[in-house]
C-alpha cells in the first residue's frame, strides 16, 4: 500500500517537470515563430523585383547586386548616398557556373542590357562601396521604384588573378 503511494507521488513529481518543461519549450517556440514572422526579409534579385512588381513594394526585402561605380553619388552634407546596382544571380551555384563571383560582378556591370535598380541610402559611405563590388542591401522598394536601403553590406571578391599579369616576370 505504502509502495503504490510512493509511486503515485513520484509520477506526480514527473508530471510537474513535464508540464513545466513543455511550457518553456512552448514559450521558446512562440518566440522563434513570432520573431521570424515579424522580421522575415525576402531575398530577391534585381530581376525578381521587376518581375514581381507591385507585389513586393513596401515589404522588407534583401537584395543583392553588382555596384556600378560611375553611378555612385554621395553628398557629404546630407549623407545621402545614391548608386545603381545591376542584376546578378541570387543562387551561388549559378554564380559558380558562370565563372565565379568576380566574373559575374564584372559581366553584370559591363553588360548594358542588364536590369538595374537605383538605391538610396542615408549614412556614411561604406569603405567597400566601389565599382564591381557585391552589394547586399536591406530595405524597401518605394512607390517611386527606388530601393530605400536601411543597411548596406558590401563584398569585394579577391582579384589576385587580375593583379598577377602586371607584375609577373
Amino acid at each position: 500500500m505504502e509502495q503504490t503511494l510512493a509511486v503515485d507521488h513520484q509520477s506526480a513529481g514527473k508530471m510537474k517537470f513535464l508540464i513545466g518543461g513543455l511550457l518553456i519549450v512552448a514559450a521558446i517556440v512562440y518566440l522563434i515563430v513570432s520573431s521570424t514572422h515579424a522580421n522575415a526579409q525576402y531575398f530577391l534579385t534585381v530581376d525578381e523585383i521587376y518581375s514581381k512588381g507591385a507585389e513586393v513594394q513596401n515589404r522588407d526585402l534583401r537584395i543583392s547586386g553588382a555596384v556600378i561605380g560611375d553611378s555612385i553619388q554621395f553628398d557629404p552634407q546630407t549623407l545621402n548616398l545614391t548608386f545603381t546596382i545591376a542584376n546578378i544571380p541570387g543562387d551561388n551555384k549559378e554564380i559558380e557556373a558562370q565563372g565565379g563571383l568576380a566574373k559575374v560582378l564584372h559581366d553584370a556591370v559591363v553588360d548594358q542590357n542588364n536590369r538595374t535598380l537605383t538605391v538610396i541610402y542615408n549614412g556614411p559611405k561604406p569603405d567597400l562601396l566601389r565599382d564591381e563590388a557585391q552589394a547586399i542591401l536591406t530595405g524597401k522598394v518605394g512607390n517611386d521604384g527606388i530601393f530605400h536601403a536601411d543597411e548596406l553590406l558590401l563584398k569585394c571578391p579577391t582579384k589576385y588573378e587580375e593583379a598577377l599579369p602586371d607584375q609577373a616576370e
Binding site: S35, T36, G123, E169
Partner: protein
C-alpha cells in the same frame, strides 16, 4: 626546400595518424598494451610533425616567398613581421594548418597525462583525436594546400598547383596582395588563435565522452578527468568571442561590437552548448542525474565546433544565403553528419547504462534550476541555429529565399537572456534536492528589495522610463547582490569558525572551492557585461554633421570642434587622412580625438578608424565620414555616444578572471571533487 619539408611533414602526419588510429583500435579491441602504447607515441609525434609544417609555412610568409599562392594572398612586402606571422590564419588554407597545429598540441598534451587509473580510455581518446586530426590534415593536403605554387602556363594563364604542370614555369612575383586591411589589428592577432584554442580544446572532453561510451565505463569519471579541459576550452572560447567583439568595435567603425552575423553566431553556438554542459555536469557530479543529457551536450558541442571552424573560415556564409560554395563544404557536412550519427549510435547503445541514480523531486531545487538554465541555453541555441538555416529551409519549403536579420535574434533571445539572469539570481540561494517557495522566498526577499531600490529606483531617478531597461537593471542588480551576499556569507562563516580576518577568509574560501567561487566571479563578470550591453542596446545615440574647420557639433553634452585635417602616406603602404577634433564635455575641455581613414594601396581599400574617448559613463565614438578638398576644409563626422559600454570590457575581464580561478589546477583535483561529492550527498549540505 623549406616548403617541401613542410609539405612532407604534413603528409607524414597523415600516415602517422592513420597508423595511430588503426593501432589504437586494434590494441583497444584485443587489449594489447603494446599496440596502444605504439598508438600513443604516434599521437605524440603529430605535434612535432605539424610544428615543422606550420613553422615552414611561417618561414615562407615572413620571407616573402610569393611563388606560393597562399603567401601572395595574405602578405606583402610592406607588412611588419608580426603581421606576416599572423597572416598564417589570414585565409582558409593557413587557418586549417593552424587549427591542426593546435589540435595536435592538445592531443599530444593529453597523451602525457598520468593514465594509470584510466588505461581503458586511452585507445579511444587516441582514435577520436586522431580521426579529427586526420580529417583536417586531409583537407589541407588534398583540397586547401597552402604549399601550392603559382605556375605560368605557355598560354599566359596562371594556375596554382602543388606540382609543376606540363609546360608550366614557376611564376616569380615581387610582391603579394597583403593581408586584408581589416585584419591588420592587434585584436586580429589574438582573436582567431583564442577562438581556435577554444574550439580544439573541446575535442578532448568529447574524446573522453566517446571513450566512456565505447568502454562502458559510464560513471562520471570522464567528466572528472575532463573538467579542467572543458574549462580551458570554455575560457579560450569566451576570450575569443570577447576579443572579437572588441575588434569589431575598434575597427569596423559602425559603433557596435556584435552584429548577429552568421559567422559570429557559428562561434557563439558551441559556446552556448559548452556553457550548458559546464552547468549540467555539476548535477551529474553531485546527484548522478542527467547523464544522457551531458553526453548529448558534449556531442553537440563537438559538432558545432567543427561546423564553426568551417563557417568562420570558409566564407561560405558571407554570401549571406548559400551554404556550399567551397569545395570542402560537402566534406565538412559529411564529417559532421558522420561523427554526429556515430556518436548518437554509441550513446543509444549505452542508453540503459546511463540511468540516473535518483530523481528530481522539487521544482525549485538547485538541480531543477540548473535544468532550466540548460533549457534556456538550448533555447538560445535553437534561435541561433534557426536564424542561420532559415534561408535554406524557406527556400526548400516555399522556393523563396527569406532571411532574418539582427532584429530577429534580438527579439527572440532577449527574454531568454533575461531568464538566465533571473536564474543566476535565484539558483545560488536554492538548495540541492529540496527547496520550496517558502525557503527560497526567505532567502531572496532581502536581495530583491535591495535590487529593486538600486536597479529600478536609481535609473528612475536618472530619468530612465523604458520598462525593458528597468527590468534589465533590476535583474542585473539582483544577481550582483545575491552573488556578493554569497561571498559575504562564506567569509563571515569562516571568520566565525576559523577566526580568520575577512581578506584571509576570502582568499581561503576561494582557494578551497575554486569552481564555486570562480563561477560566482564569472557571474559578476556577466553582470558587468550586461550593464554595458543594456547601455549600448537601449541608449546608444548617434548623429552626423558636416562642419567647416573651426565649426562644431553639439550632442548629448559634448561639443565636438573640428580643427584640422591632414593627409599623408606611411611607409607600410597606406595613405592616412586624419582629422583633429577637440572635445568638450559640459563646457570643460577634455582633449583631442583623431578619427581617420586609412587607404591601403595594395588592396585599394579604405579602412575607417574611429576616434574614441572612453569613460565609465559613456564612450564618445567619432567616425570621419568624408571631407571636402583640403582648400575648403569642411569635413563630415558621424558621432556615437555609447553609454556604459566600457562596463562590457571590464565585465569580460572579470569573466576571464573567474574562469581562471575555476580552472586553476588543484594539487589533486580528482580527489578533491570526490570529497566534495561525498559531502554534498549529505542532505543537510546546501
Amino acid at each position: 626546400m623549406i616548403a617541401d619539408l613542410g609539405l612532407g611533414a604534413l603528409a607524414i602526419t597523415l600516415v602517422v595518424s592513420i597508423y595511430g588510429t588503426v593501432a589504437a583500435i586494434y590494441g583497444g579491441l584485443k587489449s594489447k598494451a603494446e599496440w596502444i602504447e605504439s598508438a600513443r607515441l604516434a599521437m605524440l609525434l603529430t605535434f612535432p610533425l605539424i610544428s615543422i609544417s606550420a613553422l615552414s609555412l611561417i618561414y615562407l610568409l615572413v620571407n616573402g616567398h610569393y611563388e606560393f599562392e597562399f603567401v601572395t594572398r595574405v602578405t606583402s612586402n610592406s607588412m611588419p613581421t608580426y603581421l606576416k606571422v599572423t597572416a598564417l590564419w589570414g585565409a582558409q588554407a593557413g587557418s586549417l594548418v593552424f587549427w591542426s597545429w593546435l589540435m595536435s598540441a592538445f592531443a599530444s598534451a593529453v597523451t602525457l597525462r598520468k593514465w594509470d587509473r584510466d588505461r581503458e580510455f586511452l585507445p579511444w581518446v587516441i582514435v577520436v583525436s586522431l580521426v579529427t586530426l586526420m580529417f583536417f590534415v586531409s583537407l589541407i593536403l588534398f583540397f586547401e594546400n597552402p604549399f601550392a605554387r603559382i605556375w605560368r602556363m605557355p598560354d599566359g594563364q596562371f594556375i596554382a598547383a602543388l606540382f609543376q604542370p606540363a609546360g608550366g614555369v614557376l611564376a616569380s612575383l615581387r610582391d603579394g596582395q597583403g593581408l586584408n586591411p581589416f585584419l591588420r589589428h592587434p585584436g586580429m592577432t589574438l582573436h582567431p588563435p583564442t577562438l581556435y584554442l577554444g574550439f580544439v580544446a573541446f575535442v578532448i572532453p568529447y574524446a573522453f565522452a566517446i571513450a566512456a561510451l565505447i568502454t562502458g565505463r559510464t560513471d562520471d569519471r570522464w567528466i572528472r578527468i575532463t573538467r579542467r579541459w572543458t574549462l580551458i576550452a570554455w575560457l579560450f572560447l569566451s576570450l575569443g568571442l570577447i576579443i572579437g567583439g572588441r575588434w569589431a568595435y575598434d575597427v569596423l567603425g559602425w559603433g557596435g561590437y556584435w552584429g548577429w552575423d552568421p559567422v559570429e553566431i557559428s562561434a557563439f553556438m558551441p559556446w552556448l552548448t559548452g556553457t550548458a554542459f559546464l552547468h549540467s555536469v555539476m548535477i551529474q557530479e553531485k546527484r548522478g542525474l542527467l547523464k544522457h543529457w551531458n553526453m548529448v551536450l558534449i556531442i553537440l558541442t563537438y559538432s558545432l565546433v567543427i561546423f564553426g571552424t568551417f563557417l568562420t573560415r570558409s566564407g561560405v556564409l558571407s554570401s549571406v544565403h548559400a551554404f556550399a560554395a567551397s569545395a570542402i563544404g560537402p566534406l565538412f557536412f559529411g564529417f559532421i553528419v558522420l561523427t554526429f550519427v556515430g556518436s548518437l549510435y554509441l550513446l543509444l547503445r549505452r542508453w540503459d547504462d546511463l540511468k540516473s541514480e535518483g530523481t528530481m523531486t522539487s521544482l525549485l531545487s538547485r538541480e531543477a534550476l540548473f535544468l532550466l538554465n540548460n533549457l534556456l541555453f538550448m533555447g538560445i541555441l535553437v534561435v541561433c541555429f534557426w536564424g542561420v538555416i532559415f534561408p535554406l529551409v524557406s527556400e526548400l519549403v516555399t522556393n523563396q529565399k527569406v532571411t532574418v536579420g539582427p532584429p530577429f535574434y534580438e527579439r527572440a533571445t532577449a527574454p531568454l537572456f533575461a531568464g538566465l539572469l533571473l536564474l543566476m539570481g535565484i539558483a545560488p540561494l536554492s538548495a540541492w534536492r529540496h527547496s520550496t517557495a517558502k525557503t527560497l522566498g526567505r532567502a531572496i526577499w532581502k536581495p530583491t528589495i535591495l535590487a529593486a531600490l538600486v536597479g529600478i529606483g536609481a535609473p528612475l531617478a536618472l530619468g530612465i522610463r523604458s520598462w525593458a531597461a528597468l527590468l534589465g537593471f533590476f535583474l542585473v542588480a539582483l544577481v550582483a547582490f545575491v552573488t556578493l551576499y554569497e561571498f559575504w556569507r562564506g567569509m563571515m562563516a569562516r571568520r566565525r569558525t576559523q577566526g580568520e580576518a575577512l581578506p584571509v577568509a576570502l582568499a581561503n574560501m576561494i582557494a578551497r572551492n575554486r569552481r564555486r567561487y570562480g563561477g560566482y566571479i564569472i557571474h559578476l563578470g556577466v553582470v558587468l557585461m550586461a550593464i554595458g550591453i543594456i547601455g549600448m542596446e537601449m541608449f546608444q545615440k548617434e548623429t552626423q554633421g558636416t562642419v567647416p574647420a573651426g565649426g562644431s557639433i553639439s550632442f548629448e553634452g559634448y561639443k565636438i570642434t573640428y580643427q584640422s585635417l591632414s593627409s599623408f602616406d606611411t611607409p607600410d603602404g597606406r595613405n592616412v587622412t586624419r582629422a583633429v577634433v577637440n572635445v568638450e564635455k559640459n563646457g570643460k575641455n577634455v582633449g583631442e580625438l583623431y578619427p581617420r581613414r586609412d587607404f591601403f594601396f595594395e588592396s585599394q581599400q579604405p579602412v575607417t578608424i574611429p576616434g574614441v574617448r572612453s569613460t565609465w559613463e559613456d564612450d564618445l565614438y567619432i567616425i570621419l565620414v568624408d571631407w571636402l578638398p583640403i582648400s575648403s576644409q569642411g569635413a563630415t563626422f558621424k558621432v556615437f555616444v555609447n553609454p556604459l559600454v566600457n562596463w562590457l570590457w571590464l565585465g569580460g575581464f572579470v569573466f576571464i578572471l573567474g574562469t581562471l580561478v575555476a580552472a586553476w589546477p588543484d594539487n589533486e583535483p580528482e580527489l578533491a571533487t570526490a570529497r566534495k561529492r561525498r559531502r554534498a550527498a549529505a542532505p543537510a549540505e546546501a
